[in-house]
């Protein structure tokens, strides 16, 4: 147990990597989620099939497979392109491979969250805004988005909670995140139990803090609505 305390700074660095991967993935996933939802709601058949393809394929494959594919497969692609063009070896970084894989996966889940939230807002709201002479942008920003946020937040919070924990898969590509470092330290000191217990508590700490913040955010987007 005291060994874990000795390794605490190292585990702290790992936790920082875990949080950075999670936050950056969420940013990417949010962007992809908005695009995905817009594509699926589009009037054009082509966009709808693109959005459909994205959510169907990505939600159907395991995180682990995708991350291995992007990190090792992506490296092979870069190597092949590089050698054709005569470049030197270009390294695909572990960190960004992790962020891109996780962002790409959870973007598909968020597409569905955002699409559902958009559809929940009654059509009459947009029509009423237009009848009052509001422009499209103003309608979207002042009338629809505040309501979409309200409906999307519970699903969004859920995706964040799952996403934080799924960052653990980045340790397979050798990125020194919380799980990867704790695994190595645990095996090195032959005290894996204590290290995994520390990891468990660290994740629990991150999710409890998130839950608290999300609750406050929920209050904020629901202001003016009687409970």
């Amino acid at each position: 147990m005291f060994t874990v305390i000795e390794y605490a700074p190292l585990l702290g660095r790992g936790a920082l990597v875990t949080i950075s991967v999670a936050v950056l993935s969420l940013v990417l996933a949010t962007g992809l989620g908005v695009l995905g939802a817009a594509a699926k709601l589009s009037k054009r058949g082509l966009w709808r099939s693109v959005g459909m393809g994205y959510t169907t394929i990505v939600r159907g494959i395991p995180d682990l497979v995708l991350i291995l594919l992007i990190y090792f497969g992506g490296q092979r692609l870069v190597n092949d392109i590089g050698s054709t063009l005569g470049f030197d070896y270009i390294e695909v970084s572990k960190f960004w491979a992790g962020v891109i894989s996780i962002g790409f996966i959870y973007g598909a889940y968020l597409s569905e969250t955002f699409r559902g939230a958009y559809l929940t807002v009654p059509r009459g709201q947009a029509e009423a805004a237009q009848a009052l002479g509001m422009k499209t942008i103003a309608t979207l920003w002042k009338v629809l988005v505040p309501q979409i946020l309200r409906f999307a937040l519970p699903g969004y919070s859920n995706v964040w909670m799952v996403l934080v924990k799924s960052t653990a898969v980045v340790s397979v590509i050798g990125l020194s995140d919380l799980v990867g470092l704790a695994d190595k330290a645990g095996k090195s000191t032959r005290q894996q139990f204590w290290f995994y217990l520390a990891v468990l508590l660290a994740y629990l700490f991150i999710t409890i803090i998130s839950e608290h913040l999300l609750k406050r955010l929920d209050k904020r987007v629901n202001r003016g609505i009687p409970a």
């Binding site: 000795e6 390794y7 700074p9 190292l10 660095r13 291995l68 990190y71 090792f72 490296q75 092979r76 870069v78 190597n79 070896y89 270009i90 390294e91 695909v92 970084s93 572990k94 960004w96 340790s171 397979v172 590509i173 050798g174 020194s176 990867g180 470092l181 695994d183 190595k184 330290a185 095996k187 090195s188 000191t189 032959r190």
Partner: protein
């Protein structure tokens, strides 16, 4: 146009990791003490790393250790994330289908242990009438049955049960991997009063080829350079110095 190329450059910079400055990048693992372990400052140290550095110095090349997960260590080699694996990887036929190996750089020998004062020897006569414990279904069982057919064997499900019976006096000796027994028994409180006897056995037929340095197929020059360097550090005493820092036995094997 300018903006597009700036974005392209920024994207490339994001994807690119550290510039590769060293002559050789070596994949190491960091979760297999005392060969390779992670310290509390995050460095990887151990026998494998010391050997890697000694080999690099012998070859006159600068080397950088690349931390890698065991599951991803062969793909990392194949996709040029490193040029060699020095991670206690056993040379096996299955792995030889995908990568190539240098000669072994160690093959922990199998040895007998017994009570310090029993005066046992590792000959068929010396073990006559004695009972030797081995773990069931292991290479050590095959070895004993073929090389010491007249010695009575007692089979155990785990290595620890064999140690318990040795302490209880139900058996006279245990045959297993020397480093595993040294770390797992002799160096512990339970192992007081017991010691190795006889020589170390590493016969490829039973004990495998040992651990080699993994390299990509077709890199014959690198393979030759590593093999020559292994022979040189064996001859110069550099290997022994590193060996003795970690082990009581010569783990290079016979």
């Amino acid at each position: 146009m300018k903006r597009i190329s700036a974005i392209a450059a920024a994207t490339a910079a994001l994807f690119a990791g550290q510039a590769i400055a060293a002559d050789l990048n070596i994949c190491v693992e960091g979760a297999y003490p005392p060969f390779s372990e992670t310290t509390s400052s995050g460095d990887i140290v151990g026998f494998d790393i010391d050997i890697a550095n000694a080999l690099c110095a012998e070859m006159g090349k600068s080397c950088e250790m690349v931390q890698s997960d065991w599951d991803g260590i062969i793909p990392a080699l194949l996709e040029h994330k490193c040029d060699a694996i020095i991670a206690s990887m056993s040379i096996t036929e299955d792995r030889m289908k995908v990568i190539d190996f240098t000669n072994k750089y160690y093959n922990t020998p199998a040895r007998f242990i017994g009570a310090k004062d029993a005066g046992l020897t590792d000959t068929p006569e010396g073990l006559k009438g004695k009972v030797v414990g081995v773990q069931r279904g292991t290479i050590h069982q095959d070895f004993m049955e073929s090389e010491f057919p007249d010695v009575e064997l007692k089979l155990y499900g785990t290595q620890d049960e064999a140690y318990l019976d040795l302490q209880a006096g139900r058996i006279d000796a245990v045959m297993a991997d020397s480093v595993a027994m040294d770390e797992g028994f002799l160096k512990t409180d339970n192992g007081k009063g017991f010691a190795f006897f006889g020589k170390g056995y590493s016969i490829p037929k039973y004990h495998g080829e040992g651990a080699g340095i993994g390299i990509r197929k077709g890199e014959e020059d690198l393979k030759k350079a590593f093999n020559a360097a292994i022979d040189k550090i064996r001859a110069s005493g550099q290997y022994k110095k590193i060996n003795d820092k970690y082990f009581n036995v010569d783990i290079y094997g016979g």
